[in-house]
Amino acid sequence: MPRTLFQKVWDEHIVSTPTGQPPLLYVDLHLVHEVTSPQAFDGLRVANRKVREPLRTIATVDHNIPTEPRGTPILDPIAKRQIEALQANCREFGIRLFDMDSAEQGIVHVIGPELGFTQPGMTIVCGDSHTSTHGAFGALAFGIGTSEVEHVLATQCLPQRKPKTMLIHVSGKLGEGVSAKDLALGIIGKIGTDGATGHVIEYAGEAVRSLSVEGRMTLCNMSIEAGARAGMVAPDETTFAYVKGRRFAPQGIDWETAVARWRKLPCDPGAKYDTVVEIDASELAPFVTWGTNPGMVVSIAGRVPELPANGSDRTAAQRMLEYMGLEAGVPVEQIRVDRVFIGSCTNSRLEDLRAAARVAKGYKVASGVRAMVVPGSQSVKHAAEQEGLHNIFQQAGFEWRESGCSMCLGMNPDILRPAERCASTSNRNFEGRQGRGGRTHLVSPMMAAAAAITGHFTDIRNWRFQ
């Protein structure tokens, strides 16, 4: 029976199939951060349970840490207590922590791959919905709640009902100025924010194959915004080249064995999916979201859509326009921005920063716009500085910050003020996501940089690079 990539990874991790219960799935890698873990560790203590395999869990602080220079005191006492709780829990249970002062600290979904923990064919979970990012390597990676974090700590397993499978086949090539982010937004715009609920997506086709691993991470990252449990891309030579030589990747003879195993992961010819979606890459454009969910996308060359005719959709769209301070029919290029955020687990890797810097080079941030670049990790920051990207950004007037989740969700001091409008490379434009009353438009790193320079959304396909 031909099997999909998902099916192969699933089969390999079944520990037990008890009658009347969902199968028990083994978890290879568990990622932990400060926000969704303290109650899980407390649960272990209350039940007098240990962490079953501390070597399979790694932790970092990312969600609520400040992005001012390291060493700046954390003024929010509750945030400080949460970070201290993670430090204490990692000490107590023997878990490896990439702490505030670590040269390898960063957003959990950035450091897992760059340290070589994330590998093809693995099962990976984290108390964070953007765990789907790791699927870029052909891993089955999904977000879980805190009760499940506790479950994984205690048992290294999760009872899991088998999800359905969805193939998203992207034919053709992405045009100039159209990035992995635009592909992700285009897909969500097409299938909707619940279009993949209950499914694991496999992304395939020429346009996906031609993406770098970093681009694939951006694509898989946003799978959850279409409601999917996970998104996956079959591993290939691009994947192996990325993983090879990383600190926690297989070494020596183990490397050869691992690659031989990974080569068997791609979907077999003739394997069936529950749902198939076809996308033509040549129809995609640089996108901008106009509403308050990631499915509300429009081409940079387009206009804010007219209100739908019928009842409940019309009310919802009206509410969105009101919240966003927009009017139907306005050309997207005429929308002015107050803030620009380049960062988040979606778009804060070296390739993203290079793309944004290429746009910013030789220009100045428009007057009245505050623009911020937040590298995904200390390693990304260091690598970018080696290339001089920080100089390009700083000379253009962007702030160059320390790594963390930052303004993607605004748990730390980086937030929008009410009615401020932001071009953001993050993943969610929900009401208040970046700060109460803040207005978020999701875009690619290139589009965010261009908006910072001109002060309004600008079609990157017409950009004069310097």
């Binding site: 219960q21 028990l24 083994y26 070597l55 409601g227 919802a316 605004g410 996501r433």
Partner: protein, 202 residues
């Protein structure tokens, strides 16, 4: 976990699609390290002005909805972030069940772990309940997990589907970790052939 068998209670309508977990519990309240005390922040930014004063037009601030224990919402309820704090806030506020045409996966999982029942009904049934909850004062529903049915005293009778294992866990209030640990021998066997990668040690 508190078992869920049958619950009768007052219904609050919040019939919008795609209500995300950022609305249910905004990020500024995720820093607590306890599971308790989130109820007062439920739907905080919808229910309160920027200065923190309650907005009387928001449904949960209206006295006619005091003591509600069932929420009826639009499709794709609980989308977005995996934060279990959203469920802790609903439960702490007093909600035992949420009715909607559909739910986001992680949110529905999180509910189940906390004894909160997600009840998927057909769109027109959920809409009817939302309408009655807006029009009829003290409108009540009974949600029965034994029979997987929802009823009111005005003739509404709807049924819903729930995965059998989830139903069993909720009915009995089972500790899932305890259930998994009954298979510890299987886990040990699996681990003997799937060792921790050597580069992850030390």
């Amino acid at each position: 976990m508190e078992p869920f068998r049958k619950h009768t209670g007052k219904v609050a309508p919040l019939y919008r699609a795609n209500i995300d977990t950022d609305q249910i519990i905004p990020k500024q309240f995720l820093k607590r390290i306890e599971r308790t005390g989130f109820g007062e922040f439920l739907f905080h930014d919808w229910g309160r002005s920027a200065e923190g004063t309650p907005d009387p037009s928001f449904v949960l601030n209206q006295s006619r909805y005091s003591g509600v224990s069932i929420l009826v919402a639009g499709k794709n309820f609980g989308c977005g972030s995996s934060r279990e704090h959203a469920v802790w806030a609903l439960a702490d506020f007093g909600f035992r069940a949420v009715i909607a045409p559909s739910f986001a996966d992680i949110f529905a999982n999180n509910c189940m772990k906390n004894g909160v029942l997600t009840v998927p009904l057909k769109e027109h049934e959920a809409a009817e309940i939302a309408r009655k909850a807006s029009e009829i004062s003290d409108y009540q529903l009974s949600v029965d997990l034994e029979s997987c049915t929802v009823e009111d005293s005005q003739g509404l009778a709807a049924s819903f589907h729930i995965d059998e294992f989830t139903r069993h866990c909720l009915l009995e209030g089972l500790d899932e970790i305890g259930l998994t640990l009954q298979h510890e021998a299987d886990i040990t066997v699996y681990e003997s052939t799937h060792p921790v990668p050597s580069t992850w040690k030390a």
